[in-house]
């Protein structure tokens, strides 16, 4: 791909979000309408290996994010959710290789994208925030300068215009006294404020997609609630799609339209958030729900998921969760398990998907 056709107008055409951006201010906050069924980001049969091909950590992930949709990836540490979103961002760590599969963003194949191509995608079409905001900012330069720099480089704004736009963005992400914050260095700001600064930088060039990898994990609960509220508002105001990664199912349930549950490098269940929370079909999702902080403030027996997840790259015939599953049968270990569609948009990778819900219902009583 050459730079010319990357910048060409047909780039904007496949996703309606860019075309009518100024008019979308009043876009409803609720789930994507039928009009936006084309995926903004689409991963198909993605395989990623780590340690220069020694072990396969992500095994055939397929998922899509539609414009203005908030999709949550949830799973234990080591389940491959971070690798998946890093692959989508084109920032895989050293030694990690995409073996198979495709990543399409707004009709463009990202797996073959050149360095210059990524420069155009990053910021302008995709923004990202991570767990530890302080490590992504220069500690000795004011946060305002760091945001203005992005605006000047990416959008070619003048010094004065970049400064003005920075203050507007700081206001948009809910920072108090934005003019004052502009002149502060990262050490003078709290964790929650820094994460807001990171979000301001990530959305500064009006991207269609924000990737948030454990973006609220290190924050206090009160601040976490505020950042979640901010993401919700940005989606409502700007039609921003969010790929939200977290190990906490409760946080994902709070924010997301759709949930994708990862286990040992595979998607075991995906579907609308309310559906997954109300009627989880996969035994792993049911277990995650039982251990999640459910907003229950009573004294109770804290449950655990027995056993350990398989080692990264371990080859297992059949279901990867079978060893820890209370409902595992012979059929679970005999061969690969294909995802089953149990309901509209609700897919489960379990041979007992139709029964599992009944079992979960019994257990809950």
């Amino acid at each position: 791909m050459t730079i010319d056709n990357l910048k060409s107008p047909d780039l904007a055409a496949p996703h309606p979000a860019t075309a009518d951006r100024p008019a979308t201010a009043g876009r409803p906050a609720t789930a994507p309408s039928a009009a936006s069924t084309t995926d903004l980001l689409r991963l198909d049969d993605l395989h990623i290996s780590v340690h220069h091909g020694a072990a396969t950590a992500v095994r055939g992930i397929s998922l899509g994010v539609r414009p203005g949709e908030i999709v949550g990836l949830v799973g234990e540490s080591g389940s491959g959710k971070t690798l998946t979103c890093r692959a989508a961002l084109g920032v895989l760590p050293d030694g990690c290789i995409i073996d198979r599969g495709s990543i399409t963003f707004a009709g463009r194949d990202l797996t073959t994208l050149s360095r210059r191509g990524w420069e155009d995608v990053h910021g302008s079409h995709m923004g990202a925030v991570f767990q530890d905001p302080a490590s992504y900012l220069n500690p000795s330069i004011t946060v305002g300068h760091q945001l203005a720099e992005v605006l000047r480089v990416k959008l070619g704004l003048s010094r004065r215009a970049a400064r003005q736009r920075s203050v507007e963005l700081f206001t948009a992400v809910g920072l108090h006294q934005p003019e004052h914050v502009f002149h502060q260095i990262p050490a003078e700001l709290s964790g929650g404020m820094l994460q807001r600064v990171m979000i301001a930088i990530a959305i500064s060039c009006d991207p269609e997609l924000l990737v948030a990898d454990e973006a609220t994990t290190a924050l206090d609960v009160t601040i976490q609630a505020e950042v979640i509220e901010l993401l919700r508002r940005l989606r409502a105001e700007r039609g921003l799609a969010v790929l939200f990664v977290s190990h906490d199912l409760a946080v994902v349930a709070e924010l997301c339209d759709r949930v994708v549950v990862f286990y040992a490098g595979e998607v075991v269940e995906s579907g609308p958030a309310a559906e997954i929370i109300e009627r989880p079909r996969h035994p792993y999702t049911q277990a995650l729900l039982r251990v999640a902080s459910v907003g229950d403030f009573r004294r109770r027996e804290l449950e655990v998921i027995s056993g350990q997840p398989p080692q990264v790259g371990e080859d297992i015939t059949g279901c990867r969760f079978a060893a820890r599953c209370p409902a595992a049968a012979d059929a679970c270990r005999s061969g690969p398990i294909a995802p089953v569609t149990v309901d509209a948009q609700h897919e489960v990778r379990c041979v007992r998907a139709q029964e599992a819900w009944a079992a979960g219902e019994l257990a809950a009583r």
């Binding site: 009043g26 234990e76 540490s77 108090h176 709290s190 964790g191 206090d220 609960v221 009160t222 601040i223 976490q224 609630a225 505020e226 979640i228 509220e229 190990h247 906490d248 199912l249 409760a250 946080v251 349930a253 709070e254 929370i277 277990a287 995650l288 729900l289 251990v291 999640a292 902080s293 459910v294 907003g295 229950d296 403030f297 009573r298 004294r299 109770r300 027996e301 804290l302 449950e303 655990v304 998921i305 350990q308």
Partner: protein, 370 residues
């Protein structure tokens, strides 16, 4: 699953194991000096699990470090097992620390455990510091401590990097248990773990309380899982205790707006909260609408620590309220602890009608556009 854990073993006549009395801690010197704790009173009874909650910078960790003798208080005292340990100096303090009756467990075992030492060395270090020189006795106690946290001796020759995150935190707890402590202070022991491991560690601490009669202080900001095991909750805000009481009562009816804010902010898979965080904190618009002298008072140095964020702050809140008894075994530091809940409900009702108004306005606009 077993029945809920027994009621707290403490009764009011029991002498507390640890008593912290009007503790003031100032960190830094000269113009850098910051008062981190102000007048903290806290008593921990034998066999009690106390959850200490609060946000970053509220002084939770400083309180733990002061109790352990790592920070010298500027005022007040710390009494542990009848000894005023905050008054001990040099040799006496070192001797007290080496007894190992009070142990700390830190948040990130990868950073708190020496990466070059084996599990055997890490867990046995405290025993050696207690003066034990017999190698086989040290090993016996190390294996016993590992057994108490559900690990076996196959881990002994491994280093922290060679075991999983959940196991590492269990090794950190075994290290603390090896010296047979009376009080365990766990500083965010589960924040770095996923939900399943988090519950495992908390359950383990609950079992240790029962089997060893340990008193445990758990510092955490995850209220929901604390509610599962703690007997008492102590809420710290900007270096002051704002609420203290039995866990079930505090969570059933918080008396301080900050406790309510923490509960409202906790993520939940259900959407059935009575109050949202927005209803408990003051919006910028509301702050602007307040009379100027009141606003200045609420932001002043003598004001209630929570007043700058509190939606219910009024004129009396320009002075810091003391921690006063509010019901049986409960105390709260809020001038309006009897009133704010009613105000919050009114606010919630007002918001709902507002939002309905917005929605109908929105519909008209859409209608006009169509």
């Amino acid at each position: 699953m077993t029945a809920p854990a027994p009621a707290p073993l403490i009764s009011p006549q029991d002498a507390p194991l640890l008593a912290v009395e009007s503790l003031d801690v100032i960190l830094g010197r000269g113009w850098r000096a910051t008062q981190v704790l102000s007048g903290v009173d806290l008593a921990i009874g034998p066999g009690e699990i106390v959850g200490l909650v609060g946000e970053t910078g509220s002084g939770k960790t400083t309180l733990a470090r002061t109790v352990a003798g790592l920070v010298s208080p500027a005022g007040g005292r710390v009494v542990f097992e009848g000894t005023t340990i905050s008054a001990l100096r040099r040799g006496a303090r070192r001797a007290e620390r080496r007894r190992g009756h009070l142990q700390l467990v830190f948040q990130d075992p990868l950073r708190s455990l020496d990466p070059d030492m084996t599990v055997a060395g890490i867990v046995g270090e405290g025993v050696r510091l207690q003066g034990e020189t017999d190698g086989s006795e040290i090993r016996r106690r190390v294996v016993a401590a590992l057994g108490q946290v559900g690990l076996d001796d196959s881990l002994l020759p491994r280093t922290p990097a060679q075991i999983s995150g959940g196991q590492r935190q269990r090794v950190a707890i075994a290290r603390a248990l090896a010296t047979e402590p009376r009080l365990l202070i766990c500083d965010e022991p589960v924040s770095a773990l996923d939900a399943s491991n988090r519950n495992y560690i908390l359950r383990l601490l609950d079992q240790l309380r029962t089997s060893l009669g340990l008193s445990i202080v758990i510092i955490s900001h995850d209220l929901s899982s604390l509610a599962g095991i703690a007997d008492r909750i102590v809420v710290l805000y900007r270096g002051r205790i704002v609420e203290d009481g039995p866990v079930d009562q505090v969570f059933a009816a918080p008396r301080h707006p900050y406790t309510a804010l923490l509960m409202a902010s906790a993520p939940s898979v259900r959407h059935d909260r009575e109050l949202s965080p927005q209803q408990l904190t003051r919006t910028v618009a509301e702050a602007v609408a307040l009379p100027e002298d009141l606003l200045a008072g609420l932001g002043g140095p003598d004001a209630c620590v929570f007043a700058p964020r509190c939606a219910f702050a009024a004129a009396p809140c320009a002075t810091q309220p003391p921690l006063v008894p509010a019901g049986e075994r409960r105390s709260v530091a809020c001038h309006r602890h009897d009133e704010w809940m009613t105000l919050a409900r009114e606010r919630a009702a007002a918001r709902t009608s507002d939002r309905n108004g917005d929605r109908s306005r929105g519909r008209t606009t859409e209608g006009q556009l169509a």
